[in-house]
């Protein structure tokens, strides 16, 4: 038999591991943290970093303008509670670009069975992915308004601080992050192809935005002003805005007003529950 030079390395004996073994919770947390980092391209290639960081930078632009206007003209032009509705296209693109990254490769390259052969359960996996995307979206949306608020505090303005509006906006941001994460993962997890996932999520956003706008215009122009506001709720961003103004008393982003707050809250809860159930069912099926 010939002697391979690598044999020397192989001859270092096997050592058993007798260190600490953490539980399911910590494994889920590790998966969530790894996924969250991945959403912003951390620990991935340069190419994977471009899109999320570019979009995060675009999200900050109105903040820069707003702080400039506050400093120079002493005017408050960009209410915190309306930031997300104003920037909804950018947020939707971020969601479409990053939600498929979280779920599609594990389906396409069949990594899921490796997770499930470990102490992790299907539900742990889904929770980790949803939480990672929700936290990522929260960071994306909360950072600009937080910077703007810090700017408002530092600049000596002739009017009182908009603290209530800022806190309400933060509350709304939590709800919006959860809703968008649930919708994004639900849509993206139905296809193992990342490109298709991106297209599906962006198409969903454009479809809801267009249908919502169209219905509203048609209903309003035919004098059905009582039903018209319901059409707005088809757009996820207006749905959250309606709930935000009902729960936290912020001004509606549209001047028209929304249907009663309770209804908006129930619709929001129902949509989130539906999306999460869809994801869980989809993964139950993928696991078996």
């Amino acid at each position: 038999m010939t002697i391979e030079p690598t044999a020397v390395i192989h001859d270092i004996g096997y050592r058993h591991y007798d260190g600490v073994r953490l539980g399911r919770g910590r494994a889920t947390l590790a998966l969530g943290v790894q996924s969250l980092r991945g959403v912003f391209g951390l620990g991935r290639t340069i190419r994977a970093k471009i899109m999320p960081l570019l979009l995060a930078a675009i999200m900050l632009m109105p903040t820069v303008v707003s702080i400039g206007v506050m400093a120079l003209a002493k005017q408050f032009v960009m209410p915190y509670s309306q930031y997300a509705v104003f920037m909804q296209a950018v947020i939707a693109v971020f969601l479409a670009a990053q939600a498929p990254y979280l779920v599609a490769p594990d389906l396409r390259f069949r990594v899921l069975p490796l997770y499930l052969s470990r102490p992790l359960t299907v539900n742990d996996y889904v929770v980790a992915k949803l939480a990672a995307l929700a936290v990522a979206l929260f960071c994306l949306m909360a950072l600009p308004i937080t910077i703007e608020f810090v700017g408002e505090m530092l600049i000596d303005m002739p009017m009182p601080l908009h603290t209530g509006d800022f806190l309400g906006a933060l509350g709304g941001t939590v709800l919006r992050a959860v809703l968008l994460a649930a919708l994004g993962v639900a849509l993206a997890s139905f296809t193992p192809r990342r490109g298709l996932g991106v297209a599906v999520v962006i198409a969903f956003y454009m479809f809801t935005a267009a249908v919502s706008g169209l219905f509203y215009a048609v209903l309003a122009s035919t004098g059905r002003d009582d039903v018209a506001p319901w059409a707005l709720l088809l757009n996820p961003f207006f749905l959250v805005d309606a709930v935000q103004s009902a729960l936290f008393g912020t001004d509606p982003a549209t001047g028209e007003g929304y249907p009663p707050g309770v209804a908006s809250c129930l619709i929001l809860l129902a949509v989130i529950a539906l999306a999460v159930t869809g994801v869980l069912l989809r993964y139950r099926k993928a696991a078996s």
């Binding site: 038999m1 096997y14 539980g23 494994a27 390259f109 069975p113 499930l116 470990r118 992790l120």
Partner: protein, 313 residues
């Protein structure tokens, strides 16, 4: 059946029916520590059995236990202490083997620093060197199989399930993988359940072989029972093959010449005598020994024989 007191896994009347097919049919089998081979044609129920043993799929009826834990109720504990290498490809192409194996170690509950250390160790043991820092998309099938094995071993399990680990490998890669599996079972001290649809390759690495067909047990026994009667040693020397054959025959051994190889029948009553005789003869004649290995009778023959008879239920 030769299962030891604490079987690695045991099943009792295990049945799994899918809407269209019965994957396992009243399977009762047990295996002890060491390397156990699970042999059967494609669709014989091997992968289904592994999924049930991992606690991922509930059986239709019957029960199964792994390391003394019930698969129906203690799936999480089982999955904490076993490793699993699936048959299919499961490696994302855009990350490196190191990152992937570290991540999988964390998913098994290892803290990050320990995961890094174990991943480096395990990848070295399966024979992946500098390549482990490159994205896995560019790996050969042999390297991919090694990474798959590494992720199954990284958390130092007590038992590892290897589903068709030699699939798609060329003969050299197949030999390397089988040698690696043998090392896992002996040197690493991790019990192995390895499946294959090729009977021949398992004889070299297994202590125990289970043959299933159509979800039913065909045979379960220790390798030495399969092959004891016809154990031989293969000897290859550089020159002086003739002299060696004569010398051994003179000493009362049964020798056959097969091309460049001498096949010496191991004495069934006193195996040590045959080994000593070969050693002494090579040494006394001053020959350069190229190869000396154990040969076993082919499991295939036993399998053919047992399929011809009534299956053992």
């Amino acid at each position: 059946m030769t299962a030891s007191a604490t079987p690695c896994f045991a099943t009792e009347g295990l049945t799994k029916r899918f809407p269209r097919v019965t994957a396992l049919d009243h399977l009762t089998v047990a295996a002890g520590t060491g390397v156990t081979g699970l042999v059967g044609a494609n669709g014989a129920g091997k992968s289904t059995l592994i999924k049930i043993l991992l606690g991922l799929v509930p059986p239709t009826s019957g029960s199964a236990s792994v390391l003394g834990l019930d698969t129906a109720t203690q799936g999480l504990e089982i999955r904490r202490t076993v490793g699993y290498m699936p048959e299919h490809d499961c490696l994302p192409p855009d990350i490196s083997a190191t990152e992937f194996v570290v991540h999988m170690a964390q998913m098994s509950g290892l803290p990050r620093t320990a995961a890094r250390e174990r991943a480096a160790d395990t990848l070295r043991h399966v024979g992946l060197d500098e390549e482990r820092y490159r994205p896995m998309g560019g790996y050969s099938t042999g390297m991919r199989q090694r990474v798959k094995l590494a992720q199954a071993l990284v958390h130092d399990p007590r038992l590892v399930f290897l589903d068709e680990p030699t699939n798609g490998l060329d003969p050299q890669g197949r030999d390397d993988m089988l040698a690696l599996i043998r090392r896992v079972g002996t040197e690493f001290g991790i019990s192995v359940l390895v499946t294959s649809h090729l009977l021949g390759e398992l004889e070299r690495v297994c202590d125990h072989v289970i043959v299933i067909d159509g979800g039913r047990l065909l045979r379960s026994s220790a390798i030495r029972e399969f092959t004891r009667a016809e154990q031989t040693i293969a000897v290859e020397v550089e020159e002086g093959q003739r002299q060696l054959a004569d010398r051994l025959t003179g000493g009362g051994e049964t020798v056959a010449v097969q091309g460049r190889l001498l096949t010496v029948q191991v004495s069934p009553d006193d195996p040590g005598r045959t080994y000593d005789a070969v050693r002494d003869a090579v040494s006394d004649l001053g020959l350069s020994l190229l190869r000396l290995e154990q040969r076993r009778g082919r499991i295939e023959d036993v399998f053919k024989e047992s399929t011809a008879k009534e299956p053992v239920a």
